[in-house]
């Protein structure tokens, strides 16, 4: 068994999704490696090594997904890995999709579990908002390409040392590479990191507008939590996309999730349903969010949330 895990690099660190996948892949035994696209900092390489990668194929941040996929395809032909694991990031999905088409192998997406036994690879994924578990068997031959959901495996370092690094080839792919990144922009928010926060206060369309959404910043501040939002809210431009919780956004598993004016579309639920405690406030008693809430208040967010904020302030 030979498994490779794909990682991007951000602020000199390997992707959390890659460290999670490496930790899981140690169970499979055999050889474990990583593909790192980024600056290739010592910290990122050490993290990948510590989590079990004996080898790292390193490609530059500037390469397009077409060139990266072509480079990986060359390495796959030479080294013949059995399994390639990607995360849900935008570059992960771009490279996994292109590689799938180039190799003629399927992508088993949205994995919440991977099992290997009797030479068969099986992937479990959840559909219908997590109410149904589907197990799919790879029948396309090696390598299998799997995209995993964030935080389904725990990242636990082993005693791995520094990995052996080789350069990822950058083949000429012609017109497929005819694009250019003109500029890069960070959209940051104050307070704790949404994905790591122990408390998340999230708002949906029911918050009304951007001005009225702002009360959630105050609530999150009082609780020491991070602010999240639904797709409808980021699409409306009330807050940056980086605060989106859900299928296309971030996946969070805080100790406490407070959903304000969120009806609970499946798209959103898959990103937060594994929170330890869920509190929801919504005026519609039929809102699906109540089906997974430990405490649900059927009421107007515009009265309940300000009252909660005042009460917390008075406690000091």
């Amino acid at each position: 068994m030979k498994t490779w895990v794909f990682s991007t690099e951000s602020d000199g660190a390997a992707a959390p999704s890659a460290l999670e996948a490496l930790s899981k892949a140690r169970e499979f035994g055999g050889e474990l490696g990583a593909i790192l696209v980024g600056a290739g900092s010592d910290t990122a390489l050490a993290q990948l090594g510590a989590h079990g990668a004996a080898t790292v194929l390193h490609g530059p941040q500037t390469a397009s997904s077409a060139v990266i996929a072509a480079g990986i395809a060359q390495a796959v032909a030479a080294e013949q890995p059995d399994l390639l694991i990607f995360g849900m990031g935008t570059l992960d999905r771009d490279v996994a999709g292109r590689l799938s088409a180039r190799l003629g192998k399927p992508v088993l997406a949205n994995a919440v579990d991977i099992t290997v036994g009797d030479g068969t690879l099986r992937v479990a994924n959840e559909i219908l908002g997590g109410s149904t578990l589907v197990v799919t068997e790879s029948a396309g031959g090696s390598p299998a390409i799997v995209i995993t959901r964030p935080k389904v495996f725990a990242a636990e370092p082993a005693d791995g040392g520094a990995p052996a690094v080789t350069a990822l080839e950058a083949p000429d792919v012609g017109h497929a590479d005819a694009l250019e990144v003109l500029s890069q922009h960070a959209e940051t928010s104050e307070g704790p990191d949404l994905e790591a926060a122990a408390i998340v206060v999230s708002g949906g369309r029911g918050m009304g507008d951007a001005d009225r959404f702002a009360v959630l910043n105050e609530l999150a501040g009082l609780l020491g939590g991070a602010v999240g939002a639904t797709r409808a809210v980021v699409d409306a431009g009330w807050v940056p996309y980086s605060l989106q919780v859900g299928q296309t956004g971030k996946t969070v598993k805080p100790d406490l999730y407070i959903a304000c004016g969120i009806s609970g579309a499946m798209q959103h639920l898959v990103g937060m349903k594994d929170s330890t405690t869920i509190v929801a406030i919504n005026k519609d008693s039929e809102a699906p969010i109540f089906g997974i809430s430990d405490l649900g208040i059927i009421g107007d967010v515009h009265t309940v949330v300000p009252a909660l904020v005042e009460a917390l302030k008075n406690r000091g």
């Binding site: 578990l133 068997e137 405690t277 509190v279």
Partner: protein, 254 residues
């Protein structure tokens, strides 16, 4: 410029879809609807075509059991010129890669300069079809676009990233995948709905496109997950916030 927009007909999300107990394929009713997330791609295409003028056309491309074609007519009613429907019994249960092979072959056959897609479908959400189509067509992929411009014959986008966004520019022919929120999709007018009834829908099979579906993955089990149970759901009597404070105390947040 020939713009091809990939659109999917899906079971109405208002009532959750079901899987066939034997094949595990999604049961597709006769009346499928347009996947809501595809309306954004159609709108982007129509706006680009308006800007370019008479030299531009917008063709829809869909792979699905046609049924009543309700979903395709919804997109035609927004203003697209015509549609290509790939309908074939052998494509039932096709995986994302087979779907991409069909879409890439049909888009190439149609002479597409720009292929527009959503980011992922609402029913299947594999989320890799745009990239697979790009690779199969040998063209650049401008993915996860939240803003689209046509600049000097190229397409420039704001690409959503984990940290924020990148401004990326690509040469045609190209694939463009858009997020919802890129534009506000128009509602069909009465005139548009009437015109959609007579717009051309060309029907093709997998064989017409030279695609032979392969089975590369197989569902081996489907089971219900023991769901999380709802706790106390109470009507706000003016003191609902106190119930929340109690819960915060219980979980030791305050």
């Amino acid at each position: 410029m020939k713009i091809v927009v990939c659109v999917k007909q899906i079971p109405d999300p208002a009532s959750p879809y079901k899987l066939d107990p034997e094949s595990y394929f999604v049961i597709r009713p006769n009346d499928q609807v347009l996947d809501d997330t595809d309306r954004y791609g159609v709108e982007v295409a129509l706006q680009l075509a308006d800007e370019i003028g008479e030299a531009a056309s917008v063709t829809l491309l869909s792979m699905s059991p046609g049924g009543s074609q309700q979903g395709i007519r919804q997109a035609l009613a927004m203003g697209a010129d015509g549609a290509i429907l790939v309908e074939d019994e052998t494509l039932r249960g096709a995986d994302a890669l087979t779907t991409s092979q069909v879409l890439a072959a049909a888009a190439t056959r149609a002479g597409a300069d720009l292929v527009i897609t959503g980011t992922e479908s609402t029913d299947g959400y594999t989320g890799v079809v745009p990239q697979q189509v790009a690779e199969l067509m040998g063209v650049p992929a401008l993915t996860f676009a939240r803003k689209v411009e046509h600049v000097d014959g190229k397409i420039r986008i704001e690409r959503q990233t984990q940290a924020g966004y990148d401004v990326v520019e690509g040469a045609l022919p190209a694939i463009l995948s858009v997020t919802s929120g890129v534009v506000e999709p128009r509602y069909p007018t009465f005139k548009g709905i009437m015109q959609a009834k007579s717009k051309p829908v060309e029907t093709l099979t997998a064989a017409d496109l030279g695609v032979t579906p392969e089975v590369r993955q197989k569902i081996v089990s489907v089971e219900a997950v023991p769901g999380r149970e709802a706790g106390d759901i109470v009507e706000d009597d003016g003191e609902g916030y106190l119930r929340i404070i109690e819960k915060l105390e219980e979980v030791k947040v305050v």
